[in-house]
């Protein structure tokens, strides 16, 4: 099949705002317009997750693509047992972690400030420079440490959930998170 169904309509020109559930049903039937609307409703949070866990704006953009392509591919398996956003968030975490594993170990690196300024809009009213400093400190963490720290302290997953997602023991996860916090503190004190 060469063309996406209903590709002539702009998503914004739909006559009615559909619920996420309706959009999911349409997307499951192959309607890419509906999927685009789901994308637009959820991309900001997925992007934030990808940016923090990768620590790199370009990589985050690629990861967002991978997440939504994977979501499209697997959409047929979404049965509505959970919220779509829940399913998508978990899928995003899996895609990011899988990407980490496939690319192997990387060292800490500095991250360009413009990437982090994407969080600045949310933070503009309070301590404008501070959050960027903190984001930079997190971005400079070693990869594994950064990933588990984001999952625990930014995204709010519990230790045992992170252990299941990352496939390591609970003790290892705790140790990694403790180390990540310590390194973040050190980076801020430097």
């Amino acid at each position: 099949m060469g063309a996406l169904p209903d590709s002539t309509d702009d998503p914004g020109s739909e006559r009615a705002v559909e619920s996420v559930e309706d959009l999911v049903r349409r997307a499951q039937d192959g309607d890419a317009r509906a999927f685009e609307m789901l994308y637009r409703r959820t991309v900001d949070r997925v992007y934030a997750l990808c940016l923090r866990m990768s620590g790199d704006g370009n990589e985050a953009t690629e990861l967002v693509q991978d997440v939504f392509v994977r979501a499209w591919e697997r959409l047929g398996s979404f049965r509505g047992d959970s919220l779509f956003t829940t399913w998508l968030h978990r899928l995003a975490v899996n895609v990011i972690l899988q990407d980490r594993r496939s690319k192997g170990r990387r060292g800490a690196r500095e991250v360009a400030a413009p990437d982090l300024e994407r969080f600045g809009r949310v933070a503009r009213r309070s301590m404008p420079g501070t959050r960027v400093d903190l984001e930079r400190a997190i971005a400079s963490l070693p990869e594994k440490a950064r990933a588990v720290l984001v999952l625990r302290d930014v995204e709010g997953y519990k230790y045992d959930e992170i252990a299941r997602m990352t496939g390591v023991t609970l003790g290892t996860v705790k140790a990694q998170i403790h180390r990540a916090r310590g390194l973040t503190k050190k980076a801020l004190e430097a």
Binding site: L134, K185, E189
Partner: protein, 234 residues
């Protein structure tokens, strides 16, 4: 020193995994150990700041075009559904201290954090010299903690800066807003005075120390809100 609080216990405390007995054991230890008190205060600040980060960003434009190109001509497939964990909704950041002595130490830093002027100065040391000096002195009573909080350089500076901003700009606020601020400040100051007097009689009371820290936090938050309001109408 052979029996400092192990780092994992500090993290358990911050994660809410410490039992009441463990919590109290830490409190007792840090009451007489400035190093552990300082470490706990700094780690508390860092973790609270991370937890307060927003979980949304602003995705760049144009990503969809690439996605559309990649999924063009394909259909969603039915595959084995992965087990889905509950998506956590971020808990709102708690504002009040729930445990005693360590958080009194943390308070000096936290109130500094509430000041836009001295945010990471606090973590780099310049904002906490007063607290650190007192902490390393090994004080054992709540009054020492109180003194360390109230004589802390970062805290005093934050209060002074904010009070000046509010004082200079209060005439730009609506009279009702000014009245509400003044009344609230009077309430807090009256409560602070009560707690201070009770602390003079019972310097080692944990509950009084915690109340004092909470009222100080409320006062700083109020000043910061007032300063933001003033700046917004400037």
């Amino acid at each position: 020193m052979t029996n400092h609080v192990p780092p994992e216990k500090i993290h358990d405390l911050l994660d809410g995994l410490a039992t009441a007995a463990q919590r109290e054991e830490i409190e007792v230890h840090v009451a007489s150990c400035g190093a552990c008190r300082d470490e706990l205060a700094r780690m508390t600040d860092v973790v609270m700041a991370i937890r307060d980060l927003p979980s949304v960003g602003q995705a760049p434009e144009g990503i969809w075009d690439s996605i559309e190109a990649r999924i063009s001509g394909t259909q969603p497939a039915v595959t084995e559904d992965a087990k889905v964990l509950a998506l956590p909704v971020k808990e709102p950041v708690r504002r009040r201290f729930h445990f005693t002595v360590p958080q009194l130490a943390a308070a000096a830093l936290l109130v500094s954090l509430l000041s836009s002027a001295s945010v990471w100065m606090a973590l780099s040391g310049t904002g906490t010299s007063g607290a650190s000096a007192d902490a390393s002195g090994g004080g054992q009573t709540a009054s020492v903690w109180v003194a360390s909080l109230e004589t802390d350089v970062g805290y005093a500076q934050a209060v002074s800066d904010l009070e000046m901003i509010v004082e200079q700009g209060r005439n730009r606020l609506a009279p009702e807003t000014v009245a509400a601020l003044d009344q609230a400040m009077q309430n807090i100051d009256a409560a602070l005075a009560e707690v201070r007097r009770a602390l003079e009689a019972d310097p080692s009371s944990g509950i009084l120390g915690r109340m004092l820290a909470n009222h100080q936090m409320s006062r700083l938050r109020l000043l910061r809100q007032a300063a933001s309001a003033v700046q917004a109408v400037s």
